[in-house]
Symmetry: D2
């Protein structure tokens, strides 16, 4: 029987500012990418989010990012790789302590936002993230984009890597994501999205933008929770997978 993980970004509120409906999302997912305070997430938000994850049996991952609250970690920063190593270690350690205080633990790492995008190609920053994870715990898996330099370097370094697909994104015939700058890059129909993910999990293919099937192999599906519509879409993806006999389970 096939198993798939559902991951989502959570814990991204900050102080007075709330973002996302983590409570509604938590029962739907199996892996929670919890912000670590550098792009979002104050310590109390992190702890509360870890406690929610523990309550629902959801795996906690460290969603590490650039130090940029004003930009929400969505702006590339040309940080020196050795400093990035330490920034990532700091973030993972902080979350580990709050996760432990909530009766759970950090089980994987997933880079966030502009860092995630940069280390698809940026070899030095990708190597820095790999080095940081290894410095903390060589058994922590890295969740990332299939074909990314990050996962290539992580594998070479002996880390477990976990590939993810994006539920609401269009794919090129080469199996990469259609750039957000192009029309049609983001899908909005929950039924279509759910059907695509069922097909990806059961048949290993997604219909690309040219109408042909493209092979996509993933152990996890990334869903969103930052709007009521997003939570609704996540619920439909989960339900459709379950109807298709797929087991929803954490990879870590």
């Amino acid at each position: 029987m096939t198993t798939i993980d559902l991951n989502s970004d959570v814990g991204e509120s900050f102080g007075r500012w709330t973002l996302g409906d983590d409570e509604a999302l938590m029962p739907l997912i199996t892996s929670a990418n919890v912000a670590c305070g550098f792009h979002a997430g104050d310590p109390s938000t992190l702890r509360r989010t870890c406690a929610q994850a523990a309550l629902h049996g959801v795996s906690v991952g460290a969603q590490v990012g650039y130090r940029d609250l004003a930009g929400f970690g969505r702006r590339f920063i040309d940080i020196d790789p050795p400093e990035l190593v330490d920034d990532v270690i700091y973030q993972i350690g902080a979350l580990q302590a709050l996760a432990a205080a909530s009766g759970t633990a950090v089980r994987y790492v997933k880079p966030h936002g502009a860092l995630y995008n940069a280390i698809v190609h940026h070899r030095e920053q990708a190597a820095a993230v790999v080095e940081a994870v290894r410095a903390v715990d060589t058994t922590l898996p890295l969740l990332g984009l299939p074909g990314s330099v990050l996962l290539e370097l992580a594998e070479n370094a002996g880390l477990r890597t976990v590939r993810e697909a994006f539920a609401d994104r269009a794919y090129t015939p080469e199996g990469t994501l259609v750039s957000r700058r192009l029309t049609g890059a983001v899908l909005h129909d929950p039924a279509e999205v759910a059907a695509r993910m069922v097909r990806m999990v059961t048949d290993g293919v997604i219909t690309a933008v040219d109408g042909n099937d493209v092979t996509v192999t993933a152990e996890s599906i990334c869903v969103h929770g930052d709007s009521p519509g997003a939570v609704q879409m996540a619920a439909q993806v989960r339900a459709a997978l379950q109807r298709a006999g797929v087991t929803i389970g954490a990879f870590a």
Copy 2:
């Protein structure tokens, strides 16, 4: 044979800004209160400082503080105690990860600046710090001021507490520190300071401002390193203690 610990604040540089001569100080002390990023200390500074401590066999302590880089943690902040709990857990965890990456570990906690001063009396914030330390590791000692609410609550909660004396501060006849607002609160003569500390360690007394002896019991002496003169004074205190047959050794 008597043993005493020498502790000092280190790791307080931030990015481009350097503070203190950690390299000169490290061979002189036995416990390093390493900043944790909230009042000072970027992740790379923390890691480098932990590595220096490891090299010199110095114990690493988490110097937790208010989230206030602009104020260097020296301004009282009326933070909600539950948030302070989480802020402190976050800081300890972050330093734990960087210490581990440097081949050492966090062995105690010492609050910094305005937080240190507040929790001499502020019961709710003191309880928050105690709760945070317990949430991370019930075997971590708390280093603080004799007679403070912090140490009282920490003991009640089953934590090990370690009392410290201040090398360069004048004492009242009651054994408390003379307020910095009063003339003569801070001592500047290294020879006098060294002699006072020898007497405190060997006889358990310090000459108070009224000329009488006052009993001061401490397992650690706090010295400074933020100026060439401060490092010089720390060296003289250490040398005088060793000449008096006192062993300089970490409490943790």
Copy 3:
């Protein structure tokens, strides 16, 4: 004919995080207390908010606060008064430039959150705010709480002061606000709130918590916009005042 000003806090979003429905609120108010980046408000939010204010003919005020994004300026900070002077000047100047770029100008100053509360009594911090406003522009009015040390010192210093009433707050028989810690401190019925404000404006009295009338003199009424219910309440207050023949107009 009587005239009253309606003021509200706006421009308190930050980066990815949205707070309050400024667009819905702007047509209802006459004075916009725009955050200045220290407790909330990134520069683009400030500029956009100033532009909305200009569009609706709403006066822009500088809502200055403590430097504390994580605490949203709601935690007292024991900052040295000379530093507070400069922090306030910095904030006003930053908003002045963004207001000018939006075709309007800063017409008054209103302290925010914990700073607002502190300088009801804290003489040194109140004096610092007064000094800062005078350093920027001696013709800028200060909007604040009747009976506060802030307004007393501002008047002594020759600044124009503007008193405000709080639409949704209960009043003591002495004419001060009932502490938020007590039940009934905040009123939730829009019709009742609107009726109270009409009475305050037309008769100069509010029914205190003991049932007796208490004299309240104010040139401005503070309303909120951080929830759909709050905007709705602001709309009802405005409509009721207009029905009662009161002119809604900016004080500045």
Copy 4:
């Protein structure tokens, strides 16, 4: 008689952290690039620095940068240009208010660090800086690198532009700076540096790294003050220019 301006970065301390010897530098320069709080400089530092500049008759410039205290503005940030416009307006406005409170005014703008380097080529960010300056005051000159996209766009937009030479940098035969990554990019001999600057001002040429003369036209020379040696070098450059009959005077 020839006149040249000497500019330097100042006001870059932050809270407890001191950087540069502004007091020693101020009598030597004619234009002070004062940090604006985003990469360095707290409000009290800015005000104190403006007051020193006023005392010595030195022109104050707004040294605007990326919002990155941890990186001191030395890391490229891929910020959206419209947000950069507002960040720059905010910074200039904040400094304007503090300069006015110190009895002086902002007379020009000079981008800092990674922003300075980026907008030598990055057209969108350069246009953002130009737009910001124009939004604040169309008479404010922009100080920058000869041949940069920034100065090209600023001129096209009708702003006054001021070209600067770097006292301690080697030049290519094309008149651009030798990359800091190459050996010999930075010059350390004060006498040599001073002689080069005299020649640049009086003859309009600098000896390039290939030994040939290259034409360099500049109205200002950038000197440093972040070390005792740097201040010493600035003093020698100034003295040599004066001995050569050159007048040292602000461009603004």
